[in-house]
C-alpha cells in the first residue's frame, strides 16, 4: 500500500478538517470493501447450496473495520485476527483464490487444507492468522510488536478482536504488556453488538470499550465502524503513534454483523428485525460509494468497474477451488513438527 498524502496525515494528527486518503488508496479501499462483500456473499450462497466448506463466520457488514485499519498499515506490518477473519485476510492481501481453496479443503489452499476458515494465515503478507480461540490472536500481535521493537524495525501490529473478546483475560494481559513495554500495537475492537447471542450491554462493564484504554494509559477512541474513512483516520493516527515509539492505542469500531454468529445461527432469536434493518441503513459500502460520488473523488464508472472485476475474481476463485486437488491421506502426517535445518555452526 502507498503511504497517505502528507495533508491527510497532518490533518488526522491535528484533528482538523476531513482528512482523506489519497485517491489511489480510496480506489483500493473500495476494491477491498466490495471484494470482501463479494467473497462472503458468494460463500453464503455456496453454503446454502450445500458445498461443504466447514464452519464459517461471515464478516458481511463489518468490512469498513478491516479495510479502514489495513488502509493505514504498510505491507510489512502485521495483523492478527479473530474467528470472523475473512475480511481481515482480504484487507491485508491474502489471495482470495487460496482462501477459497482452503475453505474447500483443497491442497492449494492458503493452509494446504490443514486450517480451514478459522485458521487462514499468510505470513508473507503479514497475516498472522485467523484465530478462533477468542483473544489469543491479540497476544500474538503483541508478540509481533515486541519482535519489531527488539529487531528495531518500523513494523506495527494490529490486533483485531470483538466486543466479546474484550472480556477475556488474554486481551487485558496483552494490553498491559503493550503498554508497559510501549509496543507498536493497534488494538482494534470490532463492536458488532453480540458475542454469539449475548448482547454487549449485558456482558461488558463499561458503556464504551474504548473507555478501557484509560486502564492501560493508552488513547482510546470510538469510531463509526461503518465509515471506512473514519476508521482509516483513527488507525493512521494510532499507527503514527506506534511508529514513534509512544506505544499502543485502542480503537473501538461500532459495527454490525448482518448474518448470524455462524452459518447456522438464526439472529431473530436474540435481535429484532427492526434493529437489523436499521443497521443495514448504515451499510459501509453504500456509504463509501456515496461519499466518493458526492465529493467527486471516484466516478460511478470506476466504482462499477471495480465491482464487476471483483465478481470475476470470485468466479475465478471458486473455479480454482473446485478444480484443485484434494489432499492425500499422507498429508495427514506432514508439518506436525517444524523441520530442523542445519544452522551452520555451533
Amino acid at each position: 500500500m502507498q503511504s497517505e498524502s502528507k495533508r491527510s496525515l497532518a490533518n488526522g494528527a491535528a484533528g482538523v478538517a476531513q482528512p482523506l486518503p489519497c485517491r489511489e488508496k480510496l480506489f483500493w479501499m473500495y476494491e477491498r470493501l466490495t471484494l470482501i462483500r463479494e467473497f462472503e456473499e458468494r460463500l453464503k450462497w455456496l453454503v446454502e447450496t450445500g458445498v461443504p466448506v466447514g464452519a464459517v463466520h461471515y464478516y458481511t457488514g463489518q468490512e469498513a473495520c478491516a479495510v479502514g485499519v489495513c488502509a493505514a498499515l504498510e505491507p510489512s506490518d502485521w495483523i492478527a485476527s479473530t474467528h470472523r477473519g475473512h475480511g481481515h485476510c482480504i484487507a491485508k492481501g491474502v489471495e482470495v483464490h487460496r482462501m477459497m481453496a482452503e475453505l474447500y479443503g483443497k491442497r492449494t489452499g492458503s493452509n494446504r487444507a490443514k486450517g480451514g476458515s478459522m485458521h487462514i494465515t499468510d505470513v508473507r503478507v503479514g497475516m498472522l492468522g485467523v484465530n478462533p480461540i477468542v483473544g489469543m490472536g491479540v497476544t500474538h500481535a503483541v508478540g509481533a510488536a515486541l519482535s519489531a521493537k527488539v529487531r528495531k524495525t518500523s513494523q506495527v501490529a494490529a490486533a483485531f478482536f470483538g466486543e466479546g473478546g474484550a472480556s477475556i483475560g488474554a486481551v487485558h494481559e496483552g494490553m498491559n504488556l503493550a503498554a508497559i513495554w510501549k509496543l507498536p500495537v493497534i488494538f482494534v475492537c470490532e463492536n458488532n453488538g453480540y458475542a454469539q447471542a449475548t448482547p454487549v450491554e449485558y456482558a461488558v462493564s463499561v458503556p464504551r470499550i474504548a473507555d478501557r484504554a484509560a486502564a492501560y494509559s493508552m488513547p482510546g477512541v470510538t469510531v463509526d465502524g461503518q465509515d471506512a474513512v473514519a476508521v482509516w483516520e483513527a488507525a493512521a493516527v494510532a499507527r503514527e503513534r506506534a511508529r514513534r515509539g509512544d506505544g499502543p492505542s485502542l480503537i473501538e469500531c461500532l459495527t454490525y454483523r448482518y448474518y448470524g454468529h455462524h452459518q447456522g445461527d438464526d439472529t431473530l432469536r436474540y435481535r429484532t428485525r427492526k434493529e437489523e434493518d436499521a443497521a443495514r441503513e448504515r451499510d459501509c459500502i453504500r456509504r463509501f460509494r456515496k461519499q466518493m460520488l458526492d465529493q467527486q473523488l471516484l466516478t460511478a464508472a470506476e466504482l462499477d468497474a471495480i465491482e464487476s472485476a471483483n465478481r470475476k475474481r470470485i468466479d475465478e476463485a471458486v473455479a480454482f477451488a473446485e478444480s484443485s486437488p484434494l489432499p492425500q491421506p499422507g498429508d495427514l502426517f506432514t508439518d506436525v513438527y517444524v523441520p530442523s535445518r542445519d544452522r551452520g555452526r555451533q
Binding site: K114, G129, H140, L177
Partner: protein, 353 residues
Amino acid sequence: MTTTAVRELSFGQAINEAIRQEMRRDPNIIVMGEDVAGAAGRAHLGFVDAWGGPLRATRGLITEFGPERILDTPIAEMGFLGAGVGAAMSGLRPIVEIMFVDLIGCCYDQIMNQAAKMHYMMGGQVDLPLVIRTAYGTRGGDNRTYGGGAGAQHSQTLYAVLAHIPGLKVVVPSTAYNAKGLTISAIRDNGPVIMLEHKFLGLKAKGPVPEEAYTVPIGRAEIVRRGRDVTLCGIGRMTHICSEAAESLSGEGIDAEVVDVLTLSPLDEDTILESVSRTRRLVVVDEDTPVCSVARDIAARVAEKGFDNLDAPIKTVTAPDTPVPFSAVLEAHYTPGPAQVISAVHELFGTGA
C-alpha cells in the same frame, strides 16, 4: 573445534551457560518471564538481577544482554507466553519461562492450541522457534532441601498433559551435562520445545560440563548404565532414583540397565525396545501421577511392539493417583524412591520380601 575446559557445574549453571552462549551467537534470542532478572527498572537505585528465575538459571543474563533481551514480565502467563508465540512467528527466538509447571493452567491454550498447532494448521508456512522452560517436582524424601513442602499447586510434574499434545516437543534433562545440551538443542529447534527442570536435583545433577557449546539431540534416550537383567526406565530425577536402585540391586546379583528417557515427545521407542530386547524385563519409573501417564504410555508401547521379548509383565512405579500432599512425611511417601523400584524388580524376579 579446539578442546576446551570441562568444569563441574550445577544444573542451573549449565542451563545458564547454554542460554548465554546461544544469546551471544544469535541476537534474535530473547528471554521472558516473571523475575527472570528481577528488580526491573530499578537500576537507578543500584538494583539489578535481584532474582534470576526459580532455579537462578537466568541470573546474570541481564547484565550482559540488557533489559531489551531479558524481559521481566508481569504475572500474566497467558499474555506473555502468547507474546512469545507471536514473537516466534515474526522473527525472534523467545525463551519463555513459566516459573512452575503448575502454572500452565493459566496459559495452557497458548501451549496446546497455539504454539503446538501453528505449524500444522497453517500448512507448514510458519516456524515457531519457541522454548518454554518450567520447573517441576516434589522434594521427595529429602527433608533437608530448602523450598519443598509447596503443596498440591506448586509441586506437580504434569508432563503427561504436555507430551499428549501433537506438535510439541517435551524434554526432561537430568544432569548438568544433558541440561546444557538439551537447552541448546531446544533453542536451535525451529518448533516449540518445552523443557521441564526438576527443582530438587541438587548435587545429583552436578557434574562435568564442557565449556564449549554442544547439543544433546532431542528425541533420543540414553542408556546411562549397562545391565543384563532388567531395564529401569527413568525420567528426570527418577533416572537418579533408578541408578541408586541399580546400585543396590547389583549387591544382590541383579544387573540392572538404566535408560534416561530425556525426551518424552517424540519418544525414542527404539532405544527402550532395544534395551528390553536384551534384558527382557522393564520397570518404568515416573514421578508423575499414573493415569494416562508417560510411564503407562511407555509400558503400552513396549507391550505392543516388544511383547515377544518380555519374560515378565511390565511394571510401573509412579506417584499415587492423588494430589501432592503438603506434609514432609506424606510427600516422601508420595514420591517414588529407590525402595519402590527395588521392590518392583523383586516382584519381576519373584524374590525379595
